[in-house]
Symmetry: D2
Subunit: 196 residues, 4 copies
């Protein structure tokens, strides 16, 4: 059977070789877009980027969502999206960005974000005060753009409870963000290598 | 037993009489706050207000959420909140209003919206494209302020699918909004009469 | 104006007096229905019932959801519903109960739960692992039956994180459940007194 | 630069060639697991499987979730999960399956479903009556197992409104399911080819 398929296999081998070369030449790019007022969500964003950058041939950038450009999104292989919880759900700034990406940047019509890999994260003052709803909101936004979603094992995204019982982002919460960053980068690499 | 409790009953009767007088003097006020770009959510808001106003001793007002004042909210016995779906969830304008009501109007600290009665509604272009998530977002916002939530029988809020399969708000969708308005007004009346 | 309305007021006063008598004769009944495997959700149920029972003229009962009868539900003025998180959402046992209440007990068709007052609670091993989604599931179930929903100030329901960072239900989590129980009983009393 | 990396490239080429051969030898397997009482969810499952099977080198199977075995799940590269809406959320049978997969089949501890590709679908009698919440429940279940999630463009999953305004699964709803099946198979193929 291998003999019969020989010419095809050879062609495939060449294609895969070229894909391999191209994959080695271009790193996987991870964009971590967030809104942050007090710095907690920024801290989670940085932990996530550090986790992503720990993977070989991956570059990771954090950007306040207000400054994310069309080009930033086009160049990204993976997009992590983070928001604090305000009154139980995502920040207006993040909701506004979804519309900007869709309409102003034209990604809804161009389908330019399709098959990028995504992940979400959130911070909130109290336990169960809207971090899950916020992450559902962010995840839904990404999925509607055709993004493929990855999550931490056992939850929808990386989250931190930043006021009670303990203030700020603690080490366990940072670790979940770092691990999610690594996983996001790995799956993005896999999707990139697997592209035909 | 009635005899033994006589003085208390008499006192209660007087209190309830006064409560009844006060309830007859002041109508139940329903505020329908919405964001609308194409007019569909406004149309649902008006249907909801019409349903509320059809209840005796109820006055209902619709207001674009950008123009809702602190006083509007203070005077309302019931608040309906509506949003179109943008990229799978509530409009940024509505999310921003939740923060304005909380921080700028001070309702978070004053608990000034507690025990008002609330309901939610949403419009979206396509079936199952985020109307439920939008209504969860709006409902969560109201509940976090201590609002008591009512819904149409069998769903979380009143919703309309405004592009496919049929464009705009149809009669069945309007009816659900009207019925929700009536129910909202009735429960608000009941909460008002039952206040000690 | 009061003079002009005199006969009506008198009639109203009598009605309210009778309502008051009836309210004094019959306590507000709170049913706390839960599923529990390890005992954590049961503990939250008991805290909620204790909070409810601390309100004057309120009786509260906890029942494993498997044993809740049609009569239990009919007699309740308020229903609290609780579940542990299993794989990110409510227990199958609770989902099955919603269908039993609807079809076997006939509450969907009879609308027999309409205008009762409800609240929800959940326990889960880890932060943000599905407690919010579980509470949305429970809240949606109650709302679809026409139940009027109350929540703790600032969240959708009472919840406890029972494994990490600290095991079991702690005092802060119990307190939220007790407070929710009290609020549930108070709003149920108000709805009962306000019934025409 | 290419010269300098020559031995590595050659090794990579060989690896990719082998990966290519292996990919050609083993089809991508898509498992569509569903619960269905009236046949509507089964119909959506079959549309999804047909879409998946239309992709080259893809085999697709539909199975009632009660009969899905550990081996079915192990062998699948992609898992679609579907449920009807009962009282606003997923069927108890599907919730029970999540626990069975986790505990009885041991997939929680073995992480045996990690990096498989998943998608969700739902049917419900009325518009906005819980199909989105059902899909969030199913999506959350899959994501907690480490599944990578894909969705139809513009929504969280494929859904059908099966009673009002029009009964059963219509052609537009079937098409969304077919398209989702195709997309699921394509992304699963890409993840498989891209595995190192």
């Amino acid at each position: 059977m291998i003999g019969r398929m020989f010419p095809q296999i050879r062609k495939l081998g060449v294609l895969l070789l070229l894909a391999g070369l191209s994959a080695m030449a271009e790193p996987v790019r991870v964009l971590v877009a967030y809104h942050s007022q007090t710095g907690n969500t920024k801290q989670m964003a940085e932990a996530l980027a550090a986790g992503a950058a720990s993977v070989e041939d991956v570059s990771a950038t954090t950007k306040s969502i207000e400054t994310v450009s069309k080009q930033d999104l086009e160049e990204a292989d993976a997009i992590a999206l983070g928001s604090p919880v305000y009154m139980g759900d995502a920040a207006a700034e993040v909701r506004a960005a979804m519309v900007r990406w869709s309409v102003e940047f034209g990604f809804w019509d161009s389908r330019g974000l399709e098959n990028k890999v995504g992940a979400v994260f959130a911070t909130g003052a109290m336990p169960s005060n809207g971090k899950e709803l916020t992450m559902m909101s962010l995840a839904t936004g990404l999925l509607q753009f055709g993004v493929v979603l990855v999550s931490p094992y056992g939850s929808l995204g990386a989250s931190a409870t930043t006021y009670k019982p303990d203030p700020g982002v603690d080490e366990a919460e940072s670790k979940i963000a770092r691990d999610l960053g690594r996983r996001l980068a790995e799956v993005a690499g896999r999707m990139k290598r697997g592209a035909e």
